[in-house]
């Protein structure tokens, strides 16, 4: 496949009367955006706020993070398959995107219990509510989102809807804003145009694949839930998908699962590998592996099928990544093991568990075939997060969000940075 990517950088967002992009400035009409959001009767209240790099601002209750992009030529729509969007295969033609900015829907979510009942508000008592936020300045400003201009869409639901229903509202709102903002670039000359022609292969170069292991929400919320990361809108547990890298650039894999957001899956490793296609290797494909299977046999089967797909694709190298930590990490390890046993040079890039002063190993589970690892650290932040002037993400953010927050330990399953795709320079090494 061949995809032209037209990039329109955004170094500032200004409030005005219309939606327009010009020379690095994105003008938006905040009232118009709020009206657009409020068209959905399930939204009781909405507001548009901007978090800028360097601000004394903390963004909370993020439900997803995406880069605005739309197709300008070629079939399909960006972020296909979700919220009723077309499932036409993407990754060809031309896509327009607004770079250096993101759209972040912010909203409260209930906790869903095993029997389907829900708890809204502070009574949930989930620790993750307290550690997921983005600081735009200070020692916690280490994620890429501290360097992008973030357009936050803060929303409140009508009543106390089911989590899945509310999530669908949030997603479709996010995409409406996406289509409007990115759509403002249609017809304009792009300051930067990159062509990713993955059909051209150099036989002298090795073929490599990207193999992201992505948790599915099916085991918790059922096969049709929207509370999952999706491939063309399908979030359920399926066998591995073989996608073209340009499909991923167009958002074929998207959707938040807990605090694992869309942006890092698509805007980090994949474009970088595309940029090195034809130079260091041929980027042959992406094999998306689903995790959260409930039996050993299923986990092993998916790993086996992944390895077979990789062999059939003719790759000699692969990068495997993972996301939600915990017992589903076993799927990731089995995947690395199966690839290595099939003769494919495999790099595992992952966060690691805090080693508890040398008493605990860095990976929950491992295998002798896991020999080549890039570690992005434990996901913890050693420093105190300073008090901030602004908190974006709720109509009336709780007082504690404005205050100093304690350091976050990267202990089992707890991560603040969620650097699964290597977007940062932090890591860990053996001493």
């Amino acid at each position: 496949m061949k995809l032209e990517m037209a990039s329109f950088p955004v170094n500032g967002i200004v409030l005005g009367n219309r939606t327009a992009w010009s020379d690095g400035k994105l003008e938006i009409n905040a009232d118009e955006l709020v009206d657009l959001v409020m068209q959905d009767p399930q939204v009781a209240w909405a507001d548009i706020q901007v978090a800028r790099p360097g601000d004394s601002t903390r963004v909370v209750r993020m439900r997803d993070i995406i880069q605005p992009k739309v197709k300008s030529e070629g079939q399909g729509t960006t972020y296909p398959g979700i919220s009723g969007r077309s499932v036409d295969t993407v990754g060809q033609g031309r896509t327009n995107r607004l770079t250096d900015m993101t759209i972040i829907p912010c909203a409260d979510m209930p906790r869903v219990n095993a029997d389907g009942s829900q708890i809204w508000g502070a009574a949930q008592g989930i620790a993750s509510r307290e550690i997921n936020f983005i600081d735009m300045s200070g020692p916690g400003a280490v994620t890429p989102f501290a360097e992008t201009v973030n357009l936050c869409v803060v929303m409140e639901p009508e009543g106390q809807p089911y989590a899945d229903d509310w999530n669908r509202v949030i997603r479709s709102t996010m995409l409406k804003i996406n289509d409007l903002l990115a759509g403002a670039t249609l017809g304009l000359d792009a300051p930067q145009l990159d062509t990713f022609d993955l059909d051209r292969r150099d036989d002298a170069l090795p073929n490599v694949a990207f193999v992201p292991v992505l948790a599915s929400g099916e085991h918790r919320f059922g096969p049709r839930t929207s509370l999952s990361t999706d491939v063309y809108g399908v979030g359920r547990l399926t066998q591995p998908w073989l996608l073209q890298p340009t499909e991923m650039l167009d958002g074929a894999v998207s959707g938040a699962y807990n605090e694992n957001f869309t942006w890092p899956i698509m805007e980090t490793l994949v474009p970088y590998m595309c940029s090195r296609h034809g130079i260091d290797f041929n980027f042959s494909g992406c094999i998306v592996v689903r995790s959260n299977w409930e039996s050993q046999a299923e986990k092993q089967l998916m790993a086996n099928r992944t390895a077979q797909l990789a062999v059939d694709t003719g790759v000699t190298g692969a990068i495997v990544t993972t996301n939600v930590r915990g017992q589903r990490f076993l799927e990731t390890i089995l995947t690395v093991q199966a690839l290595e046993r099939a003769g494919i040079n495999t790099i595992l890039m992952t966060e690691e568990e805090d080693n508890e002063n040398g008493t605990a190993p860095p990976l929950l589970v491992s295998a002798p075939e896991v020999t080549t690892v890039v570690s992005t650290g434990t996901g913890g932040i050693d420093a105190t997060f300073p008090a901030v002037k602004n908190v974006i993400g709720a109509r009336e953010p709780e007082a504690h969000w404005f205050e100093e927050l304690p350091p976050i330990h990267g202990r089992y399953g707890v991560s603040h940075t969620h650097d699964y795709y290597g977007f940062g320079k932090q890591g860990y090494l053996d001493y």
């Binding site: 039996s295 986990k299 017992q327 929950l364």
Partner: protein, 74 residues
């Protein structure tokens, strides 16, 4: 150690491991009739007791099965 995911304790180094059914119901299967489910539960527990009575030298997986429980070395 009785678990639906033997690979984890095998990797961690638990020495006697018995394979269970699925994570939400390790020691049985609600999809079976009550009688068959009880049989299955007994087979799994007997396998575990058998494992306790078996000499092992390294992490070893014991499989409950239709016949007598089998030991499979990691």
């Amino acid at each position: 150690m009785m678990t639906a995911m033997p690979a984890i304790p095998l990797s961690v180094g638990a020495n006697r491991i018995v394979r269970g059914v699925r994570v939400p119901h390790v020691c049985g299967d609600p999809a079976l009739s009550e009688d068959r489910d009880r049989e299955l539960s007994e087979r799994i527990v007997r396998t575990a007791l058998g494992a306790l009575a078996t000499r092992v030298t390294e992490p070893t997986l014991f499989e409950p099965s239709q016949s007598a429980p089998q030991a499979v070395t990691a």
